[in-house]
Symmetry: C2
Subunit: 641 residues, 2 copies
């Protein structure tokens, strides 16, 4: 049964059959523990992984499996329908991390958790702590909300990580039984429906790639083609919530629950690529394009509704209640990465960068032990923070929380940081492509066997200089491509010191490189004032500040005590002075007037007392790290009553 | 037991013990079936009442009571937890209407429905179709969401209407058993909690006034003082959702679910007034003031969140997803009316007028047979309308719907229109106060027995002229006060033709009136450009148009085909030309560009092709009556990329 693919060490989460670019795995790209991303990956390994494991035990979600074995379910079960998936996501993170750090401890966690999971699996492959026992609802009786297949999707992704970093073991065997059970139960002659939360499609696609078993991909294809035809129950928010409103081939934009929409789209790209269905790929490209133009925040955040964690209509992007779930940020990166591999277009890497710096990096605290669930653009009230041992609802204050009732994000962030190195660079037969800038050591075989090694060195985004040092190369010419970000006007690239100005997009140098060659990339880091599309109501008459790939914000901590960020008006002709990691702007601080009816005749002359002020803006990803505050990204420049 | 109050014919929904102003009942104010409000009241009586009754039968919510008797609950029960209340609200409407129209048919509906309700009541007074039977949840086992006490509140309000228009009967007797049961069960020695949806407090307060039974008021007081102390379970949206976060005496603004907050506040005013607790009254005045200044839309609409139908933080008033539930409009009128009676301040009557014209009038169609649940300020997509026999979710398109799954609004609107005449004028010993302008015949006894009669004649709001004709008066001087709306700059008032300019607020004429005296009020109807407080993000750089008490909007039907209202830019120096009920404005129509990343460097020069256009604005209350459209109230005047 196991094909030869199984024994291949292939440590990367996405490994398509036919793409333009080949993703480089963790054995080909090493992220050194320095610089912006290297430090975060280290904090993730040292703090976030054990933090999440501790919470999964404490919250009882991992013990649910022990209780299943002990027969004390459903009485003792804790957590929501998708609690099982959190263990799988964290195991995925441990697997990727075990590739980077050959620590005995990581391996022990994986094997001991695996034992507990395997013990709870039914003989026919079914595995879920929330369904199927006496006094529990029957299996697959609530496809809308039950999340059984969703949970499997994450289990399969974890199994892919285990298989590609370690090889066959009990976890992988458990996953094979699950995948077979799914094909049996939901195949052409099985239940003709889909899961309320797409994710099984992603799991089956990649597990098919990792195992070489085609039926898993066929099952993913069945799920994808079934969706959108009203199989699931209608709900108050409409079937668009779970993308069961329109078949994927007929849709033109992402809609409904953002994480659901993005996971589904990512799986569709996998299917399109592996089946060489260019038409289907083009459909997702169009949906991505419309969504990015009309339904995406400046941070790259997606999903504007609190109610259903969903995309809004076109240009419905309020800041006050921006949802921008951390998991939607992860899902957006997963989707754009697949599109980048398939097409090689810089716009996908640009959005990945924006999302990594402004959503993924924002969602965790400096110490990697507290998290935002949603990433609003405007925090009106400081809110009440929860303690380090307290389970928050959804981190609904200006402070990150240690754990949530719905704790999808911490584990999603954990697996993303543990595999971050695989999202930075790609190769093809003729060369290497650098998409994101971090301190990395890269090695890859070109044309099958021509080993190339290089090192990327940078303080980016604190500095716009990136030096790529070739440390090993054959004698044949090959191509090194570097993404020049869309914002980097006036960027220059030079090999061994001859700098030339280059445009945004990929700049490619083709030559016979020699060990010791240095490619210098200079991205001009100049803070930028940004205005938004005026169909986005909430940002009319307001400006934002960007600096390199990062969006900035104002926190009330930067203002005199007792002042709210909404008291601040930006001078639209302000200078932007860089001071360390902060940007100093000029504006005015308004005093409040007594409350009165807020709508006045347009001609009324009213002025609130105000005085000039300079204020320091913070990188958005770092907001809320200094205690309770109010915060906003878009700064108003005009004044009404 | 029954006190003398019972036999007193007193047809008004609110009858406080101690207030500055005495509300005039339906026997004192007759709304003639002409003019803006008279026509609506007629359509309500002729169309809305039978429409709602038909739906209560068809949806099965009234038959639930028959099923209770037949013993086929819970299997055959239909509707939500609060379905019982809809019957009570509609019976309240029928009772008020029966005062105006002494029709045999109305009386038959009331008595036949009463029979069906009474048959389902338990011996101890408990009455609910959703709890307490085998296979149903036990009584009062879900105070958070069960709505048992909420349902009673509406039952008691209906009983008040019945008692005051007709006198003691089976409905009133049923209500007495319910009220006694509530006092027994939730009294000082009973369950120490409250209902998740305030409303029982309002019902008990008024039922106490109508019956003279003080213990009902005491029970209302208990409920009011218990709330805010965390008796109810915490939920994802927080206990503010049901105002169980802060005791009412400690709060400074309305928060949480808007209808819940406003019903509670209205009951608190009742309690404060009847117990002469000036301090408590002042607390609600402050909460009202802060809410109106910071949490209210230009339409008077309240509640900006879809998620929890709740007030947002200060100045969180997005237009795209404005909720502004019709029932919150009704509740706001109920609250402001009580505050007006208690204080005589014009601001309460001003907000009532704004809310009646722009929320209550908006919520129904011309034919009174379809309704909006929420009253958004910006409709981005036309949506899919439901048919006249189709039950909509919550009228989630640009078209009003015949009925909703949660159909609180149609019956709430029905009872409001049926009692509308009682919200127009008041009296005290020395005179009469006209708060709202409609074609009415008013009679009242001043100083106990001095009969005064007058007639109000107007085409308002289509015309700013109001003529008040004195048709009967004693020889002693008395005062006629007329509210000059806050927007009516340059208004004049004259008795028998001598006009003098008056300020906003109440203008009082004290004299010995003679039959035949005519008081002319001239409100200058000039369309006004309005700008909003710039802390409301969504309306920065935008203007609205008001005309008299009405807010205007643009519908896509006013633009060339295929254009969206968001394509329109208002010329901030436009003339405002009145053309019938429409206002013609000048502006530009923009063409769309291909989709691209919507955030650009502020210095970028980008212009979309645009051309001058004139467009006709519609009164907001009349939008969506001409078929599927997009719509917006706030018109942008500036242009970004």
């Amino acid at each position: 049964m196991p094909s030869t693919a199984l024994t291949q060490h292939d440590p990367r989460p996405v490994s398509p059959l036919h793409t333009l670019l080949r993703p480089l795995g963790l054995s080909e790209v090493q992220l050194r523990p320095t610089g912006f991303w290297g430090q975060r990956a280290r904090v993730n390994a040292e703090n976030t992984l054990p933090h999440c494991l501790g919470w999964l035990e404490r919250a009882g979600w991992l013990p649910n499996f022990d209780r299943a074995v002990a027969g004390t379910l459903p009485q003792e079960r804790t957590g929501r329908e998708f609690a099982d998936s959190e263990i799988y996501k964290l195991i995925e993170a441990y697997c990727w991390e075990s590739e980077t750090n050959l620590s005995q401890h990581l391996e022990q966690v994986i094997t001991s958790v695996t034992e507990r999971l395997v013990a709870a699996q039914d003989d026919d492959g079914y595995l879920n702590t929330n369904f199927g026992r006496p006094e529990q609802q029957p299996r697959y009786s609530d496809l809308e909300w039950g999340h059984e297949l969703y949970n499997y999707g994450h289990l399969l992704q974890a199994a892919v990580a285990r298989l590609r970093t370690h090889g066959e073991d009990e976890f992988v065997a458990m996953a094979r039984r699950v995948a077979d059970h799914v094909c049996e139960t939901f195949g052409p002659n099985g239940i003709q429906s889909v899961c309320g939360h797409p994710e099984i499609e992603l799991g089956l696609m990649e597990f098919s790639r990792a195992t070489g078993v085609t039926k898993y991909r066929n099952q993913a294809s069945l799920f994808i083609e079934r969706r959108g035809r009203g199989t699931l129950k209608d709900i108050e928010w409409g079937r668009s919530y779970y993308q069961d409103d329109i078949p994927v081939r007929d849709a033109t934009v992402f809609r409904g629950h953002a994480v659901r929409a993005l996971y589904l789209a990512a799986a569709v790209v996998d299917l399109a690529v592996d089946t060489e269905d260019r038409h289907l790929l083009g459909i997702i490209e169009t949906q991505w394009e419309n969504t990015v133009a009309k339904r995406t925040y400046i941070t790259g955040g997606m999903g504007s509704h609190h109610q259903d964690e969903a995309f809004g209509d076109d240009y419905v992007l309020p800041n006050d209640r921006a949802y921008c779930e951390s998991c939607a940020g992860v899902a957006s990166v997963m989707l754009s990465w697949r599109l980048l591999l398939a097409t090689g277009k810089a716009r996908y890497a640009d959005l990945i960068e924006r999302t990594l710096f402004n959503i993924v990096a924002t969602s965790t605290s400096d110490d990697g032990q507290s998290f935002f669930y949603s990433n609003t653009l405007h925090r009106k009230t400081p809110g009440v923070a929860t303690g380090p041992l307290e389970q928050s609802k959804r981190a609904d204050s200006s402070q990150r929380a240690a754990w949530f009732d719905v704790a999808c994000c911490p584990n999603n962030i954990a697996r993303t940081f543990a595999s971050l190195a695989t999202y930075l660079a790609t190769a093809h037969d003729d060369g290497i492509q650098i998409h994101q800038f971090a301190n990395t050591d890269i090695n890859a075989d070109l044309r099958g066997d021509e080993r190339v090694r290089l090192t990327v060195n940078t303080r980016y985004p604190h500095d716009g200089n990136i030096a790529i040092v070739i440390t090993e190369s054959g004698t044949e010419p090959w191509s090194l491509s570097v993404r020049i970000p869309d914002w980097a006007e006036g960027a220059t690239v030079g090999v061994n010191s001859e700098q030339e100005e280059v445009q945004a997009g990929y700049f490619t140098i083709t030559r016979a490189f020699t060990a010791g060659d240095v490619i210098h990339i200079r991205l001009p880091l100049i803070p930028r004032l940004i205005r938004g599309h005026d169909r986005v109501d909430a940002i009319r008459g307001a400006l934002a500040v960007e600096y390199g790939p990062r969006v900035y914000c104002i926190e009330s901590a930067a203002l005199p005590p007792e002042h709210h960020v909404d008291d601040f008006i930006l001078n639209p002709r302000t200078q932007l002075d860089v001071e360390g990691d902060r940007i100093i702007v000029k504006g005015w601080l308004e005093e409040n007037l007594a409350p009165s009816w807020p709508y006045k005749a347009a001609a009324t002359e009213l002025s609130r007392p105000r005085r000039p002020i300079t204020a320091a803006l913070t990188p958005y990803h770092h907001w809320g790290n200094q205690g309770p505050v109010t915060m906003r990204i878009w700064l108003r420049t005009i004044n009404n009553p």
